[in-house]
Symmetry: D2
Subunit: 352 residues, 4 copies
C-alpha cells in the first residue's frame, strides 16, 4: 500500500536514441514513475513527440540541454543512454549527490579498467566507482542490484548469451573451452545514428557478420561467464547484422562434459529460472523465434542436445531494445526502488 503510492522521479540523459525512446515510452506508462527530464544533444528545444511522433498526445516533455546538477537534483534516478565514455562524469555527479544511476552504456560493465581500456580504446576516468557498480542482470545479480546505487545495464548481446548459458556453467556441464556464440541482431541495435550500416538499401535483403573476433561485447560476456563457471572462460563470438528492426537470436554451441538428454537439461533450466517472470524456458521441440519476444521484456530459451557430436545447441531470443536495453533498465530500477519487478513491463509483445 505504501509502495503503491510511491512515485519515482526519473530523468533520461540521451533520450532521443532508440534505447532512450523506449525508456521514455516505458517510463511514461509506468504507474509509479514520473518523468521529470529528457536531455539530448541534437534536439534540445523540441517537444519529444516531434522527434518521436508515435508519442504525440502521450508525452509533453520538451528535450532539454543538459544541466547536470539541476537534473540530478530533481531526480531520484537517472538513466544514461550514451556512447561509451560519456557516462563517467554523470556517474560521479549522480553518485555524489546520493541519487541512483542506471547506465545503459558500457562504462561500468567491466570490473577491470584495464580490460575496458584495451577494448574501448579510451581511458576510464571514473575507475574509483567501479567497485560499487553492479552488473545489472537481475536473474543473476538481483541481490546486489537491490542495494546498488550504480547499475551497469548489460549489453544486448551479453544479455542473450549469459542467460542462455548460466545454468550449464553453474552446474559445470559443459567444456568451457568449447563455447561458440553466433548472434544475429536487428538493425535497431546500431542506433538511430546515420551510417551506411543502417541505410535501408544496404541492409535490407542482406545479412553479414561484423566485428568478427573483435566485438566489444566479448570481454563483457567472458567476465560474466567466467564468474558463473568459477574459472576463466574465453569464447568465440560473432555478431551478425540481420534485416529486421528488433531482436537478437543467439545460437550457442558447447561440448557437453558428460551425457545428458535435451529433456534433462531443459529440466535443469526450468528449475534454475523457476521464479523468473521474464525467462521463458520453452518445451522440448519448440525453439525461440525473435518475433515471439519482440515488444516484450522476455528472454526465451530453447535447446537441443546433438548426440552425434556430443554438443548442446542453446538458442535464446530477446528484444534488443527491451530486455536488451530499456526494459532491463526499468527492471533494474524496479528492483533498486523496491517495486514489483515487473511493474510497467508485464505483458507479451505485439504479434505479428
Amino acid at each position: 500500500m505504501h509502495l503503491a503510492a510511491m512515485v519515482v522521479k526519473a530523468s533520461i540523459i540521451g533520450a532521443t536514441g532508440y534505447a532512450g525512446a523506449e525508456l521514455v515510452r516505458l517510463l511514461n506508462a509506468h504507474p509509479q514513475v514520473e518523468l521529470v527530464g529528457l536531455t539530448t544533444q541534437s534536439y534540445a528545444g523540441k517537444a519529444f513527440w516531434e522527434v518521436y511522433p508515435h508519442l504525440y498526445g502521450y508525452v509533453d516533455l520538451v528535450c532539454e540541454e543538459q544541466d547536470l546538477p539541476a537534473l540530478v537534483e530533481r531526480s531520484d534516478v537517472i538513466f544514461t543512454a550514451l556512447p561509451h565514455g560519456h557516462a563517467m562524469a554523470v556517474a560521479r555527479e549522480v553518485v555524489g549527490r546520493g541519487k541512483a544511476l542506471v547506465d545503459l552504456g558500457a562504462d561500468f560493465r567491466l570490473h577491470d579498467p584495464a580490460v575496458y581500456q584495451e577494448w574501448y580504446k579510451v581511458e576510464h576516468t571514473a575507475a574509483e566507482l567501479l567497485p560499487q557498480a553492479v552488473y545489472g542482470l537481475p536473474e543473476i545479480h538481483r541481490g546486489k542490484i537491490r542495494s546498488a546505487r550504480l547499475v551497469a545495464n548489460p549489453g544486448c548481446y551479453p544479455t542473450s548469451v549469459i542467460l542462455a548459458l548460466a545454468p550449464l556453467l553453474k552446474e559445470g556441464l559443459i567444456d568451457t573451452g568449447s563455447i561458440i556464440i553466433d548472434s544475429k541482431s536487428g538493425v535497431s541495435g546500431a542506433g538511430r545514428g546515420l551510417s551506411l550500416n543502417t541505410h535501408y538499401c544496404e541492409v535490407n535483403e542482406s545479412i553479414k557478420a561484423y566485428g568478427v573476433a573483435a566485438h566489444r561485447h566479448t570481454p563483457e560476456i567472458e567476465q560474466e561467464l567466467s564468474a558463473l563457471a568459477g574459472r576463466e572462460v574465453l569464447v568465440s563470438f560473432t555478431p551478425h547484422l540481420t534485416p529486421m528492426i528488433r531482436g537478437i537470436l543467439s545460437t550457442i554451441y558447447a561440448r557437453l562434459a558428460g551425457q545428458k538428454s535435451t529433456e534433462e537439461i531443459l529440466a535443469l533450466y526450468r528449475e534454475f529460472y523457476r521464479e523468473e517472470k521474464f525467462i521463458r524456458v520453452l518445451p522440448a521441440g519448440m525453439l525461440p523465434v525473435t518475433k515471439m519476444v519482440a515488444g516484450s521484456n522476455h528472454c526465451d530459451i530453447g535447446l537441443v542436445v546433438d548426440r552425434r557430436t556430443g554438443r548442446v545447441v542453446i538458442i535464446s531470443a530477446i528484444d534488443n531494445l527491451i530486455k536488451g536495453a530499456a526494459g532491463q533498465a526499468v527492471q533494474n530500477m524496479n528492483i533498486m526502488f523496491g517495486l514489483a519487478e515487473d511493474t510497467g513491463l508485464y505483458g507479451p509483445g505485439v504479434y505479428p
Copy 2:
C-alpha cells in the same frame, strides 16, 4: 466504482486468425474482461499458445471446437472473426439468447441485403437482424453502439477512409463526385491463410494494386460517406498490397467546394474530433506515417490543400489489426458495456 468491479465474460469464434489473435491479446490484458472461450476450425485441442507462442505464459485457454449454444450461454459477449457468410447463424443464436455480438466480418455492415449479395455473391440469410445491427465506428455512431446488441465492426479500409472524410462531408466542403481513395495495406490484412499473395518471396520488395474498381469495401465506404454527406456518394477506391506487416495508409483526393486553407480545414477536424481519444489530428506540416500508429488503436489524420488544383489531399493511418479490427472491436465492447472507452486500449505503439 461499481463498474470498476464489473467483469465481462467474452468468447471469440475464429480466434486463430490474426484479428482473432489480437483480440485474445487485448482481451487477455483487459482489466474488466475474462476470456471464457476460444473456438477455431483448424487447431481445436491445441493450447492457444501453441498456435501463437508469443502468448506462452499468458494465455492458458485451449482452442475448442464450436459448441455454439454452450459458448453463448457462458459468455456475455461474443466476438466473431470469420470469413463472410459465417457470422449469420451465430448472430441469430447470440441475439436470440440476449447476449452481445461484435462481428469483425462483413455480414452486418451493409444495411441493404441486396447490396451485400451483389458484392459478396452469397445470400444474406439473417436479413431480419440487419435493422438492429449498428455500424461500429464509435467516432460516428457512438450513441447507437451504446444500446446495440449486434455491432458490425467496420472493415479496415473503411475505418481509415470514413474517419478521414467525415468532417469534410458533414460540412459539405467537397465535391462528393470527386473522391478518389488510394489505400496501401500491410500483408496481415490478407490474414494468416496461405496463398501466393502472402508468400514472403512474392510480397517482399514489391507493391501492387488489387481489386481495382471491384473491392468489397467499396459499398461499405459509400454507404457511410453517403450517410455523412446526406446524398449518394460514389468513390474510386484502389487498395494496394504493401510489403509491411501492419498498417493502412489511405491517401484521399477530393475537389474543394470552395476555397479553404490547410489550417482552416485542420481547425475543423480538430473541432470535429475534439473529444476523441483515438483520433490524432496532426499539426500542419506533419503527415501520418503507418509506423507511428502501429501497435495502437489510433487513427492519425493529416491533410494538405493544393491551391494549384483546388483539391484537398487527406491522409490517414491506422494499424489494420487494431483500429482496423480487434482494437475497434474492444472499443465497441467497452461502449456497449458502459466501460471507459479506452480501457485496455490506451497507449502508443512500440516504435521503431
Copy 3:
C-alpha cells in the same frame, strides 16, 4: 557491321550514388562501351569495387577527382548523376567540346528556366543550352534524341507517369483536368546519402506520403502531359516512400471523356507501343507489380475501366534505378550513337 565494331568511350560524373553505380554496372557489361572515367566527390582514390563490392573482379577503375576538361577530352559521352544545379557547368564544357551528355539530374528537363527556378529554388545558369536539350523519353521523343548532343534523362516518377498516360492524352480520351497520380517508390529513389528517411528502422514496416502538392517532379510531368494533350494539364501528384529497395508503382486516375471498355483502351495502348521493346502492355486482368520489372528496363502498364464512376485507372511499374534512371540513360546513349536501342539492356529482371 561497321556499328558492331564501334566502341563508345563513356565517363560518369557522380558515379558513386545508386544511379551512378547502376550506370557502371550496365556500361561495364555493354558490348560497345568502354568505361574511361568515374568521378566522385567522396571516394576519390578508392577502387570503385571498394565502394561497391558486388563489382569486385569486374570493374578495376579507380574513382577520380573531377578534372573536367581532361575527362571530356577522352570521352565520347559523359553521364552526369548529380544533385540539381551541378550539371550546368558540366553541360557547357561537354557541349562546347562537341561531346555528348546524358544528364540524369533535373537541370535540363524543364524547357522554361522560370519554372525551374520556381520549383528548384536556384537560378538556371546555363539557360542558353535549354533549347537544344532533349527530354530523353525514347518512346515519346526518339526522333529528337537521335540527333541530340544534350539529353535530359527523365525523372523516375515522370517516366512511370508519362508512359502510362501518353496514349490516352494523345487520343484525347480523358478529361485533362481530372488526373490524379498516386505513386509509390522504393527507398533507393532517395539515394545513398544518409538521412532518417533512408534509415532502415524508420523506413521498414512503414509507408508514408511526402512532398504532397509540392514535389519537384510535378512540373516535369505537367510539361510532358501538356505537350501530349496539346493543352495545359495540371495534375495532383503524391509520391509515397514504400518499404522496398527498388520500384515505382504509379496508380493514375482520370475521368473518361466518353465510354470505352478496358479492352478497347488496352488495344489502343498495344497499338501505341507496338514497336517498343521496353513497354509491356499487360493483358486484361493482369496488373503491373513492381517485382516483375525489378532489375529490368521495362515499363509494365495495365488498366481497368470503372463503369460505375466513369473513370479509368491506369497502373504502371518500373525499376526506378533502371528505366527510371540508368537504364533509360543507356537507352538514350544507344539512340544517340546509332546502336541497337536495347544493347546492354535486353532481358528480364531477377525474380523473386
Copy 4:
C-alpha cells in the same frame, strides 16, 4: 568455333518452383541453349509467363504435363527440380536413353543409399545409378563432371560450406572434430510452396533456427568434407531462416591445428581458387555480404583468425537460387557439354 555453333536442347522437369524458374531465366538467356520443354504438376496448360510474369515477352513455352519418354527424346539434357524421391525414375529413363541429367534435388548426392534412407526416410529405388552419379561442385569435382551423364547438383547450404572449408581441409590445417557451421538462408530456399514458414507476416522481422542437429544437408556436407580431409568428419550444422528473399551466409568455426595468420590462410585460399571464375576470395578486412552476390553465380569467401581462441572463422556468401541451385546446374551443364564454363553465367548481380 565449332563449339560456338553448338546448341544444347534442354528441358526442365519441375519448372515452376523457384529453382526451376531461375533455370528457365538462365537457360533462356544462354546463347547455346534452346529450351524445348517445361513440365510442372500444378500449372500444365498455362503459359510459363502466366506463372512468372517477369518473363512476359521472353519465354513463350507452355507448361506441359510430363510425358517423360517424349521429353527425353527431344532433349540433350534434362534438369530435374523436384522434391526428393522424385528424380530416381527420371534418372533411369534419361540415363537409359543416353541423355544427360542434372538433378537439383537430393536423390543422387549421397554415395551411400543407406545414409540417404536414414536421413530422407525413403528407400532409394535407383541405387544402381549412384556409382556413376557425380557430385556437381565444379570447383572440387570438375574432372569427373566433364565426363558424367548424371550430375547431382549440390544443396545450397553444402555449396556454401564445402567451398568455404575445402582449402583448410585439403591442407590439414584444422582440427576436423571442431567444425561448427552456422548458416543463414533467405526464404526462397523454402520454395514457392505454401506454408506458415513462408508466410510474410510470420517470417518478416524475425529470425529463427530450424532443423537443429537434424537438417538433411548434414550428411551431404560430411560426405564431402570427409573426402577432402581424408578422414571422417562430423559437423554441427544449424540453418536459420532469415528475413530476406535470397542468399546464404555461412559462418564457420574451426580450431586451427597450428598457428597461421589471417593473411597466410587467405593466401592459401587465393592459390587454391586461383583459376576459379566464380569464387572471390576477399581481401583481408573485407567479409562476404549476401547482397554482394545476390543475382550472381559467385561464392564470396572471407576469413579471420582469432589468435585469442586459436580458431579461424570462415564466412561464405552465395545466392542460394543461383550458385546454390540453378546457376550451378548451368555451370555443370556447360562443363558436361564442353562449353565455356561461365557461358550464360558471367556477371555481377544487381545492387542494391
